[in-house]
C-alpha cells in the first residue's frame, strides 16, 4: 500500500468517527468545546501512535493466542503515560477530560488498528496509519466540539464569534446536544461524501 493512500485513509474513506463509528464515548462526552475535542484527539493520537509503533515492532514475539491481552497491556501503558504527562504539564486539560483519559484504553479505534493493521504491517506503514486515523479522529472531534461550542456558547476556542446578544442554546453543551450534533454532522458527512453505511 502506498504511504499516501494510507495517510488519506483516516480522513474520509475510513474516518474513525463518521464512517467507522468508533470511539463514541469520548466523542460525545468531551466535545463540549473545541479545545477539549482537540485535546482528547491529540491525546488519543499519541496513544495510537505509540501502540501502533510498539505492536508492529514486537508482533513477531507475541503468541497468537494471547495477542489481544498483550495489545491491551501495551495500549494501557501508553494511556497511563499520556495521563501522567498531562497531569503534570497540562493540568487544566487533564481536569476537563477527567475519567475519559483512562478510558482511551477502551477506545475501539486503538485496539482495532492494532489488530487489523499494526499486527500485520511494517513499522513505517503502521506509524503512518496511526497518524492518519488519529488525525481523522481529532478532526472529527474538533468539528463536533466547534459546533457544540458555537451553538451552545457563541464562541469557538473561547473566542466569541456570535456577539453579546446571542441566546445560548445551552442544550448543545449538555448531553442531548452531543447526540443531536453528531447525528446531524454524520448526515451532512454522508451527504457531502456520498457515503451511506450503517
Amino acid at each position: 500500500m502506498k504511504l499516501s493512500t494510507i495517510f488519506k485513509n483516516g480522513f474520509v474513506k475510513e474516518n474513525p468517527v463518521f464512517v467507522q463509528f468508533l470511539g463514541m464515548c469520548p466523542v460525545l462526552a468531551v466535545t463540549t468545546s473545541a479545545e477539549n475535542g482537540l485535546g482528547m484527539g491529540l491525546a488519543s493520537t499519541a496513544v495510537l501512535l505509540g501502540s501502533n509503533l510498539v505492536i508492529s515492532l514486537i508482533k513477531s514475539f507475541i503468541p497468537n493466542k494471547i495477542r489481544i491481552p498483550c495489545y491491551i497491556v501495551v495500549i494501557a501503558t501508553f494511556v497511563t503515560l499520556v495521563g501522567m504527562i498531562m497531569e503534570a504539564f497540562l493540568d487544566g486539560l487533564h481536569a476537563e477530560l477527567g475519567l475519559f483519559i483512562p478510558l482511551i484504553v477502551v477506545n475501539c479505534l486503538i485496539l482495532g488498528r492494532a489488530e487489523s493493521f499494526a499486527s500485520k504491517n511494517s513499522t513505517l506503514d503502521s506509524l503512518v496509519d496511526g497518524i492518519s486515523m488519529g488525525l481523522g479522529f481529532t478532526a472529527a472531534l474538533v468539528i463536533l466540539g466547534m459546533t457544540r461550542e458555537l451553538l451552545g456558547t457563541g464562541s469557538v476556542f473561547g473566542i466569541n464569534l456570535l456577539g453579546e446578544n446571542y441566546p445560548h442554546a445551552g442544550i448543545m453543551v449538555a448531553p442531548p446536544g452531543a447526540f443531536l450534533a453528531l447525528g446531524v454532522l454524520t448526515a451532512a458527512f454522508n451527504k457531502i461524501f456520498k457515503k451511506n453505511k450503517i
Binding site: 463509528f21 463514541m24 478510558l103 477502551v106 475501539c108 447526540f179
Partner: protein, 196 residues
Amino acid sequence: MADISLAGFFTILISAILVNNFVLARFLGICPFIGVSKQVETSFGMGMAVTFVMAMASIITFVIQKYILDYFGIEYMQTIMFILVIASLVQLVEMIIQKVSPALYKSLGVFLPLITTNCAVLGLTILNIDAGYGIINTLVHAIGAAIGFTLAIVLFAAIRERLETANVPEAFKGFPIALITAGLMSLAFMGFAGLA
C-alpha cells in the same frame, strides 16, 4: 469511609439509573448502545451479560485496588490491572453463555467480546474507586449502573424497531437517525434531574 444506609443505596441507584444515567448522561457504554440495540430481546440479553460483568468486575477491582495497588503504592498500574480483569471476566462470561444458551450466544455475536471495550464497565470500576465506596456501596453502584445501561439499551431498541418502518431521509438512514433518537431520549432523561 463506609457511609452505608438504605437511603444512601436508594440515592446511588436513582442517580445511576435515572438522573445520571450511565449511557444518556455520562456517555458510558455508547458503542454497544448503538450497535446491539436493534431488537429488544437481544438488548435485554446484552444488558444481563453486562450486569454480571459489572458486578463481578466491581468486586474484583475493589479487592485489587485495596490489597495490591494501594498497599504497594503502585496506583499507576490501575488502568492496566483493571482492563486485564475485565478482559478475563468477559472471556469467562462468553464461555458460560455459550454453554448455557447457544441461541443467545449466536444472537449477541461479536458484541459479547466487545463488552471488554465497553467503557461503561471500565468507567464504573474507576468511578467506584474515586468515590471511595466501600464494598457494599460499590456493588449497589454496579447494579445501578447496569440497570441504567439495560434500561437505556432496551428503550432504544424498542424505538429503533419502530424506526425500521419509518420514512427516513437517505442521508440520515442508520446511524444519524439513531443518534438523534438517542439525543431526544437523553433530553427526556434530563427531566429526572430534580429527583436526586
